[in-house]
Symmetry: C2
Subunit: 291 residues, 2 copies
């Protein structure tokens, strides 16, 4: 038996989660493996915003991604010593048949910390690339708007949209984030907490908005959609504006813009993308080329 440390929910969240809402317990894991099984140890664990939105009963583990090293293996796809990205929770030691593994990531860029495999080369990076290229489909010269411009997903969306030759604009919640976004190449960014954001949005998009990568929903999204050009495309990746509400908040009705501007909006759910490895390979090469 080996001990695994596991985060579980200690009590229900009230507004933002607090440290006391979590506790660490120990579980025994039998290290004897059956066919196909692997025993892994976490190297790096990710606290992504999406975790919050899945119902987790008190006493249960959280759904979450981790980079892990394979300690023992009876699975040819994941031999001992290989590195994998897997969605297996906030826990140190895990045993599985590899069903939770997204892909091996033994070939990470040498100049980056291993945590890049939970960020730009993990679920957020894959989501960004998939959402932008499969749903928003921006063309060179078009204007792409990204909410939570330097969030885990938004930060990748903005940089890919720049690589695709777009004007890229974004919103975020602090002046520090605004400066960071600009340093990454955003053409215009505003702080929605301190600026008159409806005016800032219009000024940032003098030619209207063609693609909208939506991480927030709600009032901001209604305003962005009002500014969109005919034929505009919206990828909805998150709805952070409703995260802390018990009741669903209200926002201006947007359907009228859909009719007259024949807009298209689709939910980006990364779990509908079957093979994530090709996207990982593209992003990995970009990072290696840049370092």
């Amino acid at each position: 038996m080996v001990k695994s440390k596991v985060y579980v929910k200690a009590r229900e969240f009230v507004e933002n989660p607090k440290e006391e809402d979590f506790k660490v317990i120990e579980q025994n894991v039998d290290e004897n493996l059956e066919d196909e099984e692997i025993l892994t140890e976490a190297v790096c664990i990710s606290p992504d915003p999406y975790i919050r939105t899945y119902p987790t009963p008190v006493g249960s583990e959280f759904r979450a991604f981790q980079v892990a090293k394979v300690l023992k293996s009876k699975n040819k796809k994941y031999p001992t010593g290989s590195i994998v990205l897997q969605e297996i929770g906030w826990r140190t030691i895990s045993k599985s048949k590899g069903d939770a593994v997204w892909y091996r990531c033994d070939d990470l860029p040498p100049n980056e910390p291993v945590s890049v495999a939970t960020g730009a080369l993990g679920m957020p990076g894959i989501t960004a690339h998939y959402g932008l290229t499969a749903f928003c489909k921006p063309k060179p010269g078009e204007t792409v708007m990204v909410t939570t411009a330097v969030g885990a997903v938004g930060i990748i969306v903005g940089q890919i949209a720049k690589l695709m030759g777009c004007r890229v604009i974004g919103s975020c919640g602090s002046d520090e984030k605004v400066r960071f976004a600009k340093s990454l190449g955003y053409d215009a960014v505003f702080n929605y907490k301190t600026q008159d954001w409806k005016t800032a949005l219009k000024e940032a998009a003098p030619n209207g908005i063609d693609c909208y990568f939506d991480n927030v929903g709600g009032k901001m999204s209604s305003a962005v959609i009002e500014q969109m050009n005919p034929g505009g495309r919206i990828g909805v990746c998150g709805c952070i504006s409703s995260s802390n509400s018990k009741d669903i908040p209200q926002a201006p009705v947007m359907q009228v813009h859909f009719v007259y501007k024949y807009l298209m909006m689709a939910g980006i759910n990364i779990f509908t993308l079957e093979d994530k490895k090709p996207t990982y390979d593209i992003l990995n090469q970009w990072i290696k080329d840049a370092s």
Copy 2:
């Protein structure tokens, strides 16, 4: 010179349009034609809801469809005596190069009034077929929800969805309309003005909703979208709930459902469908087969 009677806007609408908001003026039309020109006389004029949503300054004509007979022609496509559907306004006599013509409709079903060419065989029918088949794409056995179930477009959507083997449910605003919808084959219909419509909606769709043909937007649409199944498709054809409001009303935020159920929503704008004649031919054949 021939006289044409033309409806113009006499004053701005306040809430629902009233008779005094319109006036009829006379215009002189020169019946001498240049190459490609046609002179037409309206046979049947349509007052569609979409007219309301296009800005019409006081003193101007309204955008509208009419079935018209070609009185004189220097255009081979539309010879004298042919019947056309054209979007040329509420007016009796018109001269044009045929740019406003959607298609000839000389072959209308013999047992139907000519007004069928402004309804089931006109813009509403083409919109219904295009929106349902190109955007909602229902499969046999799926549940299709139609708001304004017996409106000019909805009434065609519901019947086509039944032909496609779907469970078809709808909402409308009077008990008479409910009875009429049921007589056309709707599996469940409710009166949103008198019934507890959130409960009625759940009862009408025990297996959830797969396709939503949206003519209303607003609160009803947020509730429908909440009831949709993963992979659901929404065609937005209208937003009547905002028609009489100066300010855009609010409705519950819907983006969160898009992410977790990877929904797709697109504005149905019939003006993006280049060739409408093939759709007309399908609908025309259905009506002839049924009569």
